[in-house]
């Protein structure tokens, strides 16, 4: 790997100042995406700002009617958190299904959201739950946060500190995993929230997006059958060596049905 300068600030202000002053510097979280990219020289960073000592970006807590997850919380900690399991079991389940155990022990929710891989799992949950991304500068509603392929509303020197996820009445996630990379081919997160039913899918060519037709069908009747037969346009997907666009479009309906079943199971009897 090319040499770089390395800073490990203990305060958010200091981290943001370093990012603002050191040209092309990048935050480092779990490194599960950034380090492979640097090793393969797909990216270069003259300086890395390690966020691991920022206590403000740690911890999982209840914040009113929401679950607040610190940006530096690794996937394994969300999966094992009694609070996450009690408040949003569908989220804990999703976290426990990312990659493999070693990836879950390092990869963080903040890193996943900053990266916004079109196949990443967390963005679907964050968008469907109508979460708020809390940064070093402001609070960004999920609806304004995901901009496109690996693109978000974040400024280069802006640091995600936490994600505030409103506790839904029910929520569930289902995906078809690529058996080799373990990333989802298509995943759908459904949430019955106080702001209505929200549904988001990953795997689209331009990344995560909401599914309005699925939302209105489920608003009428929150049951797997309600989404049967909804047509999903293959245009929004791209074909790759793993799956054709038409197949991915078909998977959206299948995964949406399974996600609703999961949501109902996790909610338990009324």
């Amino acid at each position: 790997m090319k040499a770089f300068d390395y800073h490990r600030p203990a305060a958010v202000g200091e981290a943001a100042a370093l990012l603002a002053t050191l040209a092309d510097s990048r935050p480092l979280a779990g490194g599960m995406t950034l380090l492979p990219t640097l090793k393969l020289r797909l990216a270069e960073a003259p300086a890395l700002i390690d966020l691991s000592r920022l206590s403000e970006a740690r911890g999982i807590k209840q914040d009113g009617d929401a679950l607040a997850v610190g940006a530096m919380t690794c996937h394994a900690d969300v999966a094992a958190s009694p609070l996450a399991k009690a408040l949003i079991p569908g989220l804990a389940q999703l976290a426990g299904s990312i990659g493999d155990p070693a990836v879950r022990n390092r990869g963080t929710i903040g890193g996943s959201l900053a990266n916004n891989d079109p196949s990443a799992d967390y963005p679907a949950a964050v968008l469907a739950l109508g979460a708020v991304i809390v940064t070093s500068r402001r609070e960004i509603p999920a609806d304004d946060y995901f901009v496109g392929l690996f693109e978000t509303a974040l400024e280069p020197d802006e640091i995600i500190l936490a994600v505030r996820l409103p506790v839904p009445r029910a929520a569930g996630y289902a995906k078809l995993r690529n058996p080799a990379s373990r990333f989802p081919t298509v995943g759908v997160f459904v949430a019955d929230t106080s702001a209505g039913v929200r549904v988001a899918a990953n795997g689209f060519a331009l990344g995560v997006a909401r599914l309005p037709e699925f939302e209105s069908a489920l608003a009428n009747h929150f049951a797997p059958d309600a989404v049967a037969g909804i047509h999903v346009d293959a245009e929004a997907f791209s074909s790759d060596i793993h799956a054709e666009a038409a197949y991915k479009a078909h998977l959206v309906g299948v995964m949406a049905r399974r996600a609703v079943s999961t949501a109902l199971e996790l909610r338990g009897p009324p």
Binding site: Y6, M32, L35, P36, L48, G99, P101
Partner: protein
């Protein structure tokens, strides 16, 4: 930069550039070549070590992450000539095959059983998702881990 951490139970101080990967630090600087580098792209798990008890891929970890932490490598499992119960189980169940992925498999297995002392076969298979064997035989590895888990349980009964 100066790093100080616990390595296989003993305090260590080393000087390393921040861009040093933990796999490089262990193998090239500290001579602990039991940790293998298979893919070097975070896929294969041959390089798994324990960082504060958790399985991590050392090829995708910067040396500064060790600062103040405790690291266990495959060299840290045996007590002198006495193999760790998980190592012994791999030996008895022919879990090694060519042996290249074994260190990572054993470290992942030790972390898995520490978390879940009585895993089912399905849980063992799910726990191995990040460890790839290119001899393409997971059967004996899974059998080894189930036997190793049982041995670790009785070892802790004896200790208790």
């Amino acid at each position: 930069m100066a790093l100080s951490f616990t390595l296989n139970g003993k305090p260590r101080q080393v000087e390393a550039a921040p861009s040093t990967l933990v796999s490089e630090l262990l193998r090239d600087h500290l001579g602990l070549t039991g940790t293998h580098v298979g893919c070097d792209t975070s896929q294969c798990g041959a390089c798994v070590v324990l960082l504060d008890g958790r399985a991590v891929k050392s090829c995708t970890l910067l040396a500064p992450a060790l600062d103040g932490a405790s690291v266990t490598t495959i060299e840290g499992l045996a007590k002198g000539e006495v193999l760790h119960p998980m190592q012994q189980a791999f030996h008895l169940n022919h879990g090694l095959q060519c042996g290249f992925c074994t260190a990572g498999m054993v470290m992942t297995a030790v972390a898995l059983v520490a978390d879940n002392p009585s895993p089912t076969e399905a849980e063992v298979r799910a726990g191995l998702e990040g460890n790839i064997c290119r001899c393409t035989g997971y059967q004996n590895i899974v059998a080894s881990i189930l036997a190793g888990a049982a041995a670790m349980r009785s070892a802790s009964d004896v200790a208790a």
